[in-house]
Structure formats: C-alpha cells, structure tokens
Amino acid sequence: MVASNERKQENPQAAAAIDRIIHEPARYMIMAYLYVVESADFIFLLNQTGFTRGNLSSHIARLEESGYVEVIKEFVAKKPHTMLQLTRKGREAFEEYRKSLQQMLDGLPK
C-alpha cells in the first residue's frame, strides 16, 4: 500500500521527465524505426511510416536540431544520397523516454 502511494507520487515527476521532442507520435515513430535499424535513407522511412515528404522532412529537421538524428550526406555512383541514423544521444534519449513512459504508466491507478 505504501509502495503504491509512493509510486503515485512519482507519477507527476515521471510525466514531467517525458521528452517532449520524442513524445510527438510522428517523431516517436521515426525514432523507433531508426532505433531498430542501424541507418536508413529518407525514402525507406517515407515508405515505412507513410508520412508525407514535407511532414517527414520537418520532423527529421526537428530531431536533427535536438541532436537525436544525424543526417549523413554521401555520394553513391556520383549521385547524392542522404542516410539517417540515431546519434548516441538520440539512442539514449529514446531509451530514457521509453523508461519514463513505462514508469508513468506503471504508476497509474488500475
């Protein structure tokens, strides 16, 4: 009973610790895809997520600003090619986000 009350008190703190950048569903999806693979290009993410180009582009730009996603520009057969991958900071932030969310959900009364 005491442990349950303590958990409930932790609940608002856990909610406050939620990363707002990842908390947006589209960005969460992008982060999740990049978390489970090593790297992917824009077209692959576009096909897998089903977002529009503009939508995906803006979310990636936001994630890049936050230092969660690294945009790697390279040339493949003399053509420009853009690969995306999570940075170490992004990977840790995603794990932390999942942990915080789980803590928050665990603390909710059943």
């Binding site: 489970v36 993410l45 945009v71 053509k79 420009p80």
Partner: protein, 217 residues
C-alpha cells in the same frame, strides 16, 4: 504487447519489407525450372542434368543486381543491426557450403560410386529431408516465411521423379513436378513483383529523391 516486443515487430516489419519485391521467389522458381529443363533434356538424351548447377551458379548474382536496379531505388536503403546481419551471413555461409558440397560431389572422380550406389529410395529420402531442413533453417534465419512453402515445393520433385522413373513409360513425365513447383513459385514471385512495382512508382520515387537530396540540410 510490451514495448520491447513492439520494437522487435517493427524491426521485423522493416526487414521483411526487403522480400516484398518477389525477386528471390522468381529466382528460386527459375532455379527449379532450370533443374526441370535440364533433367528433361537428360531424359531425352540431350544433356547432362548436373550442368544446371554450373549454369545457374553465376546467375546467383542476378537477384542481387535486380535488387540494386529495381528494389533499392523504389524502396530506399536500410542498414540493419549486427544481430540481423549475423543471421543473413549465417544463411549465406550455409548456402555456400551446400553449394560447395554439391559441386564437390558432382566433380569428384568417384562420383558414379556414390551416386549410383545409393539406393533410389534412400537418395530420394536424403534429398527430401535435407532440402526441407535447409530451406526451413533459411526461412527461420531470414524470417522469410514463404521459404517454408518453398521447402516442400523443392523437396517433392526429386522423390516424385524417382518413383515415376520406376513406372514403365512414365520416365519423361517424371520431371513434371519440377515444372509445376517452379510455376507455383514463379507465379507467387511475379505477383509480388507486380504489386511491388505498383506500390512503389519509380518516377515518383525519382522526383522525391531529387527533392530530398536537395531538401534536407
């Protein structure tokens, strides 16, 4: 479903998307068709059936090239984690050793000894079980579920041929199951390829690519 399982399912979805194009299906179908044609020609007295492996082995590069020309420009590029890469490598090594073993067996000067001395029923039994096993291992390692069906389609034609060859007058028809199995696999593959080409338009992807490469800063 907990979060860990959800992420695993997401990774699986991303990986199995690689097989959506049906190119491997078409290739496997062609391989079986090649075996059937070669065996039929052998039965008709034109050709040696073991040559199919020598003809088809250089063509192994074909699906890889087609993936590069058809799949990648439409679907995009993805690099998977070390665990997934290890499983793919294990499958490649498995097939490489099977290929080497097959080649050694056929090229060996003692070949007639071990091919002809094995009773027909036993060789059919060995083929059936080893093919099932190899394809099921590959299906498991690659999460390529259609390979479970193909394991049966690859395993059956040879024992069928052995049984049919014993029936007088049915020798030429004994290779028919190779053609039927190959046709089933190729129809599945070509259907998947058609769906893939419809789903991922090349022109739309090319326009997108040029915008993207100039767009994301």
């Amino acid at each position: 479903m907990n979060a860990k399982k959800e992420l695993a399912a997401l990774e699986l979805k991303a990986f199995t998307a690689v097989f959506e194009d049906g190119l491997w299906d078409v290739y496997l179908g062609l391989m079986l068709l090649g075996m059937g044609v070669s065996i039929l020609l052998d039965d008709l007295g034109y050709w040696l059936s073991e040559y199919w492996i020598l003809i088809f082995s250089p063509l192994l590069i074909l699906p890889i090239l087609l993936k590069k020309w058809i799949t990648v420009p439409r679907m995009g590029v993805v690099k998977f984690g070390s665990k997934r890469r290890y499983r793919v490598l294990l499958t490649v090594v498995l097939f490489f050793f099977i290929f080497l073993a097959g080649l050694t067996l056929y090229r060996s000067p003692d070949r007639p000894f071990y091919i002809l001395d094995v009773p027909i029923t036993r060789s059919a039994f060995i083929w059936f079980h080893s093919t099932l096993l190899i394809f099921c291992i590959a299906a498991f390692l690659l999460n390529f579920n259609r390979l479970y069906l193909y394991s049966i389609l690859f395993a059956l034609p040879y024992p069928f041929r052995m049984i049919m060859k014993q029936a007088p007058g049915w020798s030429v028809a004994s290779s028919s199951l190779f053609f039927i199995s190959a046709a089933i696999i190729m129809v599945i593959g070509l259907r998947l390829l058609r769906q893939f080409l419809r789903k991922y338009s090349r022109r739309a992807t090319a326009v997108l690519l040029s915008e993207v490469n100039g767009g994301i800063e």
